[in-house]
Each structure stands twice: as structure tokens, then as C-alpha cells.
Amino acid sequence: MFPDASILGRLPAGWAEPATLLVMLAAFGILSVKLRWQTGIALGVAAWAGAAANGHLLPLRHLVEGGTAYLDPLLTIATAMIFMRVLLDGGALDAIGGAVERAFGSRPLLLLPAVMLLVMFPGMITGSSTASVLTTGVMALTILDGLGLPRDRSAAFVAMGGVLGMVAPPINIPAMIIGAGLDLPYAGFGVPLALLSFPVALVTAYFLAWPVLGRSSAAPLPRPRPDGATAGRVVPLGRALLGPLVAVLLMVLPRVAPSTVPDPGLPLAFLAAAAVGAVSAARFDLRVSLLRATEEALPVLGILVGVGAFIQVLTLTGARGFVVSLMVASPPGALIAVAAVGLPLFGAVSAFGSASVLGVPLLLALLGRSDVVVAAGLSALASIGDLMPPVALAPTLAAQAAGVDRFAVLKKCVVPALLLIAAAVIVLAAAPAIGRLSR
């Protein structure tokens, strides 16, 4: 029964949930767009508005509980930001970028697939687009800058590489989450995930770079220089690579030998790599770098906290069930189209959340069409959520690293994202055939 204080509880049965959704979206829109509040705070207040309209005037427990939902990603992003700042301010990225430029500068078009694979690699082994964007992604930015690619395109290249790395085998967390909803072992996903990610990655690399690099007159832009301390200093390549090497080793070894190497978790891996990077770098002011990294990370962290509270209240009030039920209620023939729209849209708040909340019921609704292939296709659609505003995790982090406006990066990601959606739809539609082939 609705508590007495509930405004929406007085509506006819079935109206309260959609009305709650409208109240929360309207509150978020007004606070975020009209009053220009920080997105994270607007989401938190909108969550309170939805709860209050349903009689929960002081839903403190729910706001706090929901706000902690993404504690691990929050720590990953914060520590990865520190790692990135240390590489940048300590001169390591300059050294790496310079070395790559000297080695491959005369053959940029051949280099593009290799750079895309470099960006994707951490995502492939951790399942996290953040890990890609803020490690090898930042290195790739300097390489792409050296090739003459404008920074909004470079950042889009890196953001897409991060998302495609998250989709690519061997580790795809949304696929694991969706599969776990059906007790589907994480086995046999390699072929469908490779089909979904690598062709799109190749096309994306050339799509973003060709218009610029294809012109013979394209002149390389100056690579970004870190502020202050390292200007004019040279870091030997071997030392510059130490920090990234530690990060990669701490990600790869627990995968390769799980019984002998304990997984330190991404936050500790990034902190250890940042410490090594700081020691091996040129002299720089670590305090300034740490403060700047925190300042850059806070808006994204705030959004994730707000998103957590927002989803908690959606669930509490039944609005989440309303949305999921509406989607799953579609006729069987339309389910793939619904997935293609719904999963990325819900992924705007969290790709992993979208996989769990929508991916699992959609897989259940599509049972019997080669479950592994369908789960893989759905996981790719959920992963696109990392490109979707308001969080737009991958483009936002890539834009921050490149020092450009995130909406400029988002615009450049639209076509590659549509390409990935198209690939996922094809895989979902052809799931039975792909399942037979990949057996």
C-alpha cells in the first residue's frame, strides 16, 4: 500500500510508475538544463523528487545505498585519472609518442589498426572501457596527434576503442552479467564477440582518420605538452614505458595465471602503476598532478553517484519495472529492435546496469536462438551505453584527456556507434546460424 504522504499513490492503478518516471525526468531536466546544476547533483535531487512523490519524504537509506552502487568503478576512474596525469605531467607520454612517431610516422594508414588494437587491449583484458581510455588510450592520443589527427577525432577514436575493447574477447563483463542471469557459463563467446568488435574497430579507425590522413597536405599538429616541470626535459623511452608496463602486467597476469597471481583490482593496479610512473618520470610536481587528476575525475564520479541513487529510486517506486516490462512486452519480432534502442539508452546511466536490468530479461525473451550469441549481441548493445549522455563515460574521459569539448567527441562517435548497433542487430538476427558456425 502507498504511504499517506504519497502524491502519486492516489493515481489509478498502473499510473503511478510512469508518473514517477516523468517526475524524475522532468526534475532532472529542469535542474540540469535550465538551472545548469552539476549533472550528478541534479540526478540525486531528481531521485529524491521521485521518492518523495511516492511518499518516501526522507529516503536517506536509498539515496546512500544507490549512490554506492558504483563504488568500484568510481575508484577505478579516480585512480586511472591519477595514472594518466602522472604519465602526462612526468613526460612519459611525450617520450612514447615521439618514439612511435619516429618509427611509423611515414606510414600512418598502416599504423591505424595497430593503434586501435593498442587502445582496445586493456578493455579486452579487463572488460572496462575506462581502463582502455585512460591507459593506452592516452598514449594513442599522443600518437594520433603526431599523425596530424584533430583532437576531437583522436578522442573519438580512443573512446570507440575503449568501448570496442570492452566488447571484444576474451573478457566482456556485460556478457558475463547477462549470461549469469541464465546460469550460462562464460564459454563460447569468443567468436561472436570477435565478430562484433574487430570489424567495427577496423572500419572505425579508418572512418575517423581517413578524412584527415587521406589528404596529402595534412600536416602533423604539435603534440600536447604537459604544463610546467617537464617542458624541455627528455625521458628515456625505457623509463617512460615502466608505468604502462606495470599497469598492463597487473591486468594481464591475474588473467593468465589466476591460481598463482592474485587480482589486485584495477584501482590498486593503477595506483601501483602511477607510483612507478612517478618515480621513473622526469621531475614534476606530484601534488599538482594529483589535485588536477581529482578535479578532472570529480564530475564523472558525481554523475555515477547520482545515477546510482536515480536507479535505486526507479526500482523502489516500480518505475524500473514499468520500463523493463514495457520493453519485454514487445512482440517477438520487434524484440531485437527494442534491444537495439533500449539497451544503449538504459546504458546511458550504466552499461553494466543495462546488461543486468534489461539484458537479462531480453535474453530470456529471446531464448532458444543460440543463447551465447544472443547474449554476446546484447552485451555489445549494453556496452554502447558507455558512449551515451548524460554519463557518456568513454567520450567524457577521452575528451578530458585530449583537452577538448566532450560533445564534439560525442558527435564524432555517432556513426561508429551506429555501426556497432548495426553489427549487434545483424548478430542477433543471425544468431542461430552464427551459433551453428561457432560451435
Binding site: P254, R255, T315, G321
Partner: protein
């Protein structure tokens, strides 16, 4: 030297102050979770031990939990031993409450019953973020309402953290998403020196071996849209017994399915208990509307009444694997199914092998729980 960021501002300080105040004010609600004393041992309980009696390393940890023994009086026919596990997942209350009913009502005249109502006690100390589950729910009894904890599926991350990105099940090498590293029912047979969850799993597996448990039953619930629901999952060595139970229950009011334990899915109780011990391992599932993704408003009323408009609509469209009408799946019905299932398993175990017979009296029948309510049988 670079520019110091101007990160300290008045609005920023206000936001931090509000966040701290909200956290401090809500802290009491979180700390109140998971209190013990919800189980009131009945006249049949002959010993209340702890899981740490089996694995001393668990003593004093959030993974330690009461183990209730209901043994036949000395001098009677020895019989067999059965282990009943509730609360593997704290957000599946029918399994937990069915175990509570056994502890509070059963009297054993042949053999021995070992009951662990909160198999993963840590999972009863928090709720899963974004699931908005109630922290507690009440069951009406003739002596007034009794309050029970609604917990979470996995070990509390405060007790076991951080999760790896990928959970690799030791022994099989099976890869699962990192959060599954805290799922007791993916941790069997467990490790004495492993994570807290693996230690709990190891202690339970060791208990099965040391007590020569002939039959081990893991009581669960699942979302109504999940394919394995209202069913028994049986290890291949337990198939004959489970088929007999399935046949006899289906002849009564309790329609129940029977599924083989998948050989390719590792870490689950019915697979690993069966493979690594001599016990006959089975798991039972009922339909829990408070778990599904399609559910509407999430509160204590949903947990108890089991009624949900969205699930009813999904059933009409053929999207569920269980019947679901406006009456839903009330907790009385779900607990009654589990209790009836356990009783039938104990009966049929003795039919198949007299030396392993376990005679139990005092446990309410399915019809009695449905008619009078679960609370009528709680102390």
C-alpha cells in the same frame, strides 16, 4: 610549477556537508541490518553449534553462522543424516524461512537433521544497491508480528573486497563476472585459505564429509522469469531420489519440475557437493517476485504477498516460466513448497535406503501452512 586547481568552493563545501549529513543520518539503518536472534530453536533442537566448529578460522568473522542439530534420542535406530541449507542467498526469503520452520518445529526420532538457516550470514548484513529491497519484512503470528531480515545475494563487500574483474572458479577455471566471487553458490567446494566466501563453502563441504551427510538440500528462490524455477535440480547420483520426490509431490498440490545439475557449470552446491562428497545433492527453487527485473514497486508487502501487476501481465503474454495470476506467489505458499519438498525428500530417502532413514515429526504439512499461514508455526 603548475597552477593549483581552485577546487574548494562554497557550493562544493555545501554538497560535501549534505553528503556527510545524509550518510551519517542513514548509518543507523545500515548498522541495524543482520542482527542475530531471529531463529528461536524448537523442542527438537539438540545442539546449537557454529560453522566455525568445522572450520575454526571462521570464528569471529561475518561468515560464521549458527548450525542447528536435531538428533534422535540416544539408543534409537541410528538412521541417516540430512543437511538443510537456507539463506545461501539472503534475498531469497522462502529458503531462509523454510529452514527456520524446520528448526522451530521439527522433532527427529530416527537419524539426524542439520539445519543452517543463514548459510551465508554476511549476505544478511546489507542489501544489493539499486535493488531497493526492504531491509526487513514481517510475518504475522498469533503472538504478534515477527520481523525477519531481507538480505543480499552475495557476501557483503564490506566483508570481502575488492572483487576481481573476473572471478575464476578454482579447480575448474570457469570464468564468471567479478561480483560472483562473493556468491556462495559459485564457491563450492571452497578453500580453507580462500576468500571469506570460499571459506564458508569449504566449511559446509567439510561438514557434509565429517557428518557423513546422506542427503544435502540447498533451498533457493528465483525470479519468476528465470527458466529454472519451481523445480528441483539434482546431481546425477540423486536423480532417482529426486524423481521419486518429483512424482509424489506432483501427485499432490505441489507441482514441481526436475532438472539435472549441469555438468559444465561449476561452483554450485548441487554440482560440487555431489562431485566431491558422497552426499546426494539437490537444490530447490521457488518463484520470488521480489527478485525479478520486471517487478513493480519494491517493498516488504511485495516480499510477503508476492503479488505484482507487471509479473501478472508478463504471464498473460507467456513471458514467465511459472503461472502468475493476481494472487501472485505469497511467502506462505513458497515456504510451504520448500517444507513439503524437504519432508518428501526425507521420507523417500528412507524408502530407498532404510539405513539412511530420517524420521521427523512436528513439521507442518503444505496444506496446513497455506491454510493457517506460516506464522502459525513460528515460535
Amino acid at each position: 610549477m603548475g597552477r593549483l586547481p581552485s577546487s574548494v568552493s562554497r557550493p562544493g563545501l555545501i554538497v560535501v556537508a549534505v553528503a556527510l549529513a545524509v550518510s551519517a543520518l542513514s548509518a543507523g539503518e545500515f548498522r541495524a541490518m543482520g542482527r542475530s536472534g531471529e531463529v528461536r530453536p524448537g523442542p527438537g533442537v539438540t545442539r546449537v553449534g557454529r560453522l566455525s566448529d568445522t572450520l575454526p578460522g571462521l570464528a569471529g568473522t561475518p561468515g560464521d553462522t549458527p548450525v542447528y542439530t536435531l538428533a534422535a534420542p540416544a539408543g534409537t535406530v541410528p538412521g541417516g543424516t540430512a543437511l538443510i541449507l537456507g539463506g545461501t542467498h539472503g534475498d531469497e526469503p522462502a529458503g531462509y524461512l523454510a529452514a527456520v520452520v524446520l528448526v522451530e518445529t521439527a522433532r527427529v526420532s530416527t537419524g539426524k537433521l542439520i539445519v543452517i538457516p543463514r548459510a551465508n550470514a554476511s549476505g544478511f548484513s546489507y542489501n544489493v544497491p539499486q535493488e531497493a529491497h526492504p531491509q526487513r519484512f514481517e510475518i504475522a503470528t498469533p503472538r504478534g508480528p515477527r520481523s525477519f531480515t531481507f538480505g543480499a545475494r552475495a557476501t557483503n563487500p564490506v566483508h570481502q573486497w575488492p572483487d576481481p574483474q573476473v572471478y575464476t572458479h578454482r579447480g575448474s577455471g570457469q570464468a564468471l563476472s567479478g561480483t560472483e566471487t562473493r556468491n556462495l553458490n559459485r564457491a563450492y567446494p571452497g578453500r580453507a585459505d580462500g576468500s571469506l566466501t570460499e571459506q564458508i563453502a569449504f566449511a559446509i563441504t567439510t561438514l557434509i564429509r565429517s557428518e557423513h551427510v546422506a542427503l544435502a538440500i540447498d533451498l533457493h528462490e528465483a525470479a519468476p522469469e528465470y527458466p529454472v524455477v519451481n523445480t528441483i535440480v539434482a546431481h546425477e547420483r540423486a536423480t532417482e531420489l529426486a524423481a521419486l520426490v518429483n512424482l509424489e509431490l506432483s501427485g499432490s498440490a505441489v507441482t514441481i519440475g526436475l532438472e539435472p545439475s549441469p555438468k559444465t557449470l561449476h561452483g554450485l552446491s548441487h554440482r560440487e557437493w555431489g562431485d566431491s562428497t558422497d552426499t546426494l545433492a539437490v537444490l530447490m527453487e521457488t518463484a520470488n517476485p521480489a527478485q525479478g527485473r520486471l517487478r513493480g514497486r519494491t517493498d516488504a508487502a511485495l516480499v510477503v504477498s508476492g503479488r505484482d501487476r507487471y509479473f501478472a501481465a508478463a504471464a498473460r503474454r507467456g513471458r514467465l516460466n511459472v503461472p502468475f495470476d493476481d494472487h501472485g506467489w505469497p511467502i506462505n505458499l513458497r515456504v510451504a513448497r520448500h517444507v513439503a519438498g524437504v519432508t518428501q525428500f526425507l521420507t523417500d530417502l528412507g524408502m530407498l535406503d532404510e539405513t539412511k532413514a530420517i524420521s521427523v515429526a512436528g513439521v507442518p504439512a503444505y496444506d496446513e501452512i497455506v491454510a493457517r499461514g506460516l506464522g502459525a508455526y513460528l515460535r
